[in-house]
Symmetry: C2
Subunit: 426 residues, 2 copies
């Protein structure tokens, strides 16, 4: 973990850079899989599942027996944790639910905006060694609350052709009815284009490796919406000496353990304090296997020492972290100056893992500086707003001259005629 | 205009298709311009302006004299129309303004969501023969209301190196301070990457031809957000015999006059009524120059005759039109069954041109079926929501077991440690 002491402002751009991913040749291989699934449907999906997941799957849809089996395997303790987490997620997302707003902008001109659930959504849940069942809650709970008619969930099967029981349990617990044993690019393709087994969805959500991410980007260029552009997860911590160095070290490592491409950044005002955190990090790291990816991620990571709080805030807003922990004595005032961050964690008792799992906020957040323009996933992500208007004769009369004048100036005569023909004297 | 009589359901997919745009070779030529602007900044912008707009521009920024000049040229009548339209747009968008929402999901677990304006936004306004100053209002009014700190507007210069006075007037009227004489791909590139004259923006808005659209898509893959994927404009009208055929014809033509690639669709239950609308269309068309693009657009357009209202609604939701006029005697009940549309216009006195210009709703809307997943531009488009949380010691204690259990099941031990280290007995 490299320490940068009072780096000059003109070096900040460089310090805000995320690790570059090697992805030449990625696009063409992803495109060929997308095309094959579009053309050959389930047949192609099964072939890629054989190739990548090393398993032959006849029926892609998860059946009731598999759900029952998962229900038996998942521990009572985990079930209770899932219940508490989903209750909090439901609580926080419920208050976001938008309602129809209506206004008469001029006499006889009624305009309104009606939130309408997206009909069919697809949730992608990565499998592999760490089954991200928490992401099931983060996506399926708001999808349900929004009122999406069909929620489709795909997740890669293991070598025995099964989805991890915790993922199945969580999905069934929230009420997801259509679960498919498909992973990777072929899952994104199946949801984007539809196959014999899977109905085409309108929007795809969920994290994934760089192949899944690339597939989502490509299908979004072809007409299927996606949640947010995704990159490796990241955390920036602003701390002062009021914060326990060991706590900060644990927070940084909790992000670093996601994978070798995760980035963590620590922003502090004192070099001495920075060193004490780094020392705590190394104590923890010594307990990990030396081949663990967490070491790699810590290598990509940085400590930025900036003397003035004002500069620290400027740096944070420039970096625009996905997760931001502010563990300082004046965190309540610092947070008011943050304009670019996905999700913020305040004070000594708010580790990022609270929001990752159970406090109620969503953990699907903009990465790689995306927080400058994007929000994390929320109820809004599962809804589109339709605007509606109805004019009375009087309303149209009141706007006639305005519309006709503007249409004429934009050289669109039929725009004016559509008004005048309605109001001409018979 | 081809009439389809009670087309079978399995042909609807085909009937919902939009005209295909010829765009092979588009991507590589757009990419090369993006790359050049990224590398050479203003110098490249000036060269492309010379090449495409046939004018040599030294200072890209519009100066105060140009604003004063525009103010002199724009007629009093048009100024008054712009004032009324922008007042209505302001009214409708003001009521959408989100506020911070906060909830204690469990004792000691405070979670909130804070709407935060996007700092720097770029608005692209096409120029050419029809100066779309109405789009200035539709983008700049919500950007201002949202509180964006910097609003940059670009629009192509004419052969004399000037932006159309109505565009300059409207931009200045709303309070846009940074106006640049740049058009096309080079404008999108300049806003996405920044140049010596133009600061990089976080999100780009606005319509454009297929080159501009492709440029927006490509920069959105590289980290600059965009408003919505755009395609040619379109209108679907559902009418019954209560609607005056001449009004419907004027509505369809008001959309068709946008360009040769616009598509208009009429859905009715009676062939006789369909024929009467088509007859009115031809009467209007006879008044246009035979080379006018409106003829081409009408050729791409369709009348769908479906006997049952239920089928008509199904078709509309499958087509997911950008603009939907429901001019039927029971329009108030029909609208409740529409789930996919950008903006809806109800009853005999609500032509699309009301919403295009002046009623208050936004005219930047999802095309090409995008209405299944996207909303039109609104205040939300200029805002991102940051989630924030603060746990007390008691709050973290209440979640400890839940977080630890979930972290363990996801094989992320440091996620658990970040909690336990804070609560361990000293």
């Amino acid at each position: 973990m490299q320490i940068f002491l009072n780096p000059p402002t003109d070096s900040w751009d460089e310090l805000c850079k995320r690790p570059e991913l090697e992805n030449s040749a990625l696009e063409s291989s992803v495109t060929s899989i997308l095309d094959a699934v579009k053309k050959f449907g389930d047949k192609a999906v099964r072939e890629y599942t054989k190739q990548f997941d090393k398993v032959d799957i006849e029926t892609l849809l998860v059946n009731q027996n598999e759900i029952i089996e998962a229900n038996k395997i998942v521990s009572k303790k985990l079930k209770s944790a899932i219940a508490i987490a989903s209750r909090n997620i439901k609580k926080f997302h419920s208050i976001q639910k938008p309602s129809t707003i209506k206004i008469e902008t001029m006499p006889g001109v009624m305009c309104w905006r009606k939130p309408t659930p997206i009909e069919r959504v697809g949730l992608y849940i990565p499998g592999g060694s760490a089954p991200l069942f928490s992401t099931v809650l983060m996506l399926a709970v708001p999808a349900k609350l929004a009122g999406c008619q069909e929620i489709i969930l795909t997740s890669p099967p293991n070598q025995f052709g099964k989805i991890h029981p915790a993922i199945l349990y969580a999905a069934n617990y929230i009420g997801v009815k259509h679960i498919y044993k498909i992973g990777g690019i072929q899952a994104i393709a199946a949801m984007a284009f539809g196959t014999e087994s899977i109905k085409k969805v309108n929007k795809i959500f969920g994290p994934g490796n760089q192949y899944v991410t690339k597939a989502k980007q490509l299908v979004s260029n072809l007409g299927t919406a996606i949640d947010i552009p995704a990159g490796p997860s990241e955390l920036l911590v602003v701390a002062d000496k009021s914060a326990n160095a060991k706590h900060i070290a644990a927070d940084l490592l909790s992000q670093a353990e996601h994978g070798g491409d995760s980035q963590v950044v620590l922003v502090v005002s004192s070099e001495t304090y920075a060193n004490s955190v780094v020392a705590e990090i190394h104590k923890y790291l010594a307990t990990f296997d030396e081949k663990a990816k967490i070491h790699e991620s810590i290598k990509n990571s940085r400590v930025i020492v900036l003397k003035y709080l004002e500069d620290q805030i400027k740096f944070v807003n420039m970096y625009a972290p996905e997760h931001l922990i502010i563990n300082t004595s004046d965190c309540n005032s610092v947070v008011n100056k943050i304009v670019n961050a996905g999700s913020i964690f305040l004070g000594p008792y708010t580790p990022e893992s609270a929001g990752d799992y159970a406090s109620g906020t969503n953990h699907t957040l903009p990465t790689s500086g995306g927080a400058k323009a994007y929000s994390g996933v929320s109820i809004d992500s599962f809804i589109k707003n339709i605007t509606i208007q109805k004019l009375s004769k009087k309303g149209l009369e009141g706007l006639q001259s305005t519309i006709e004048t503007m249409a004429e100036a934009e050289k669109l005569p039929m725009h004016a005629t559509a008004v005048s023909v309605r109001l001409e004297k018979k």
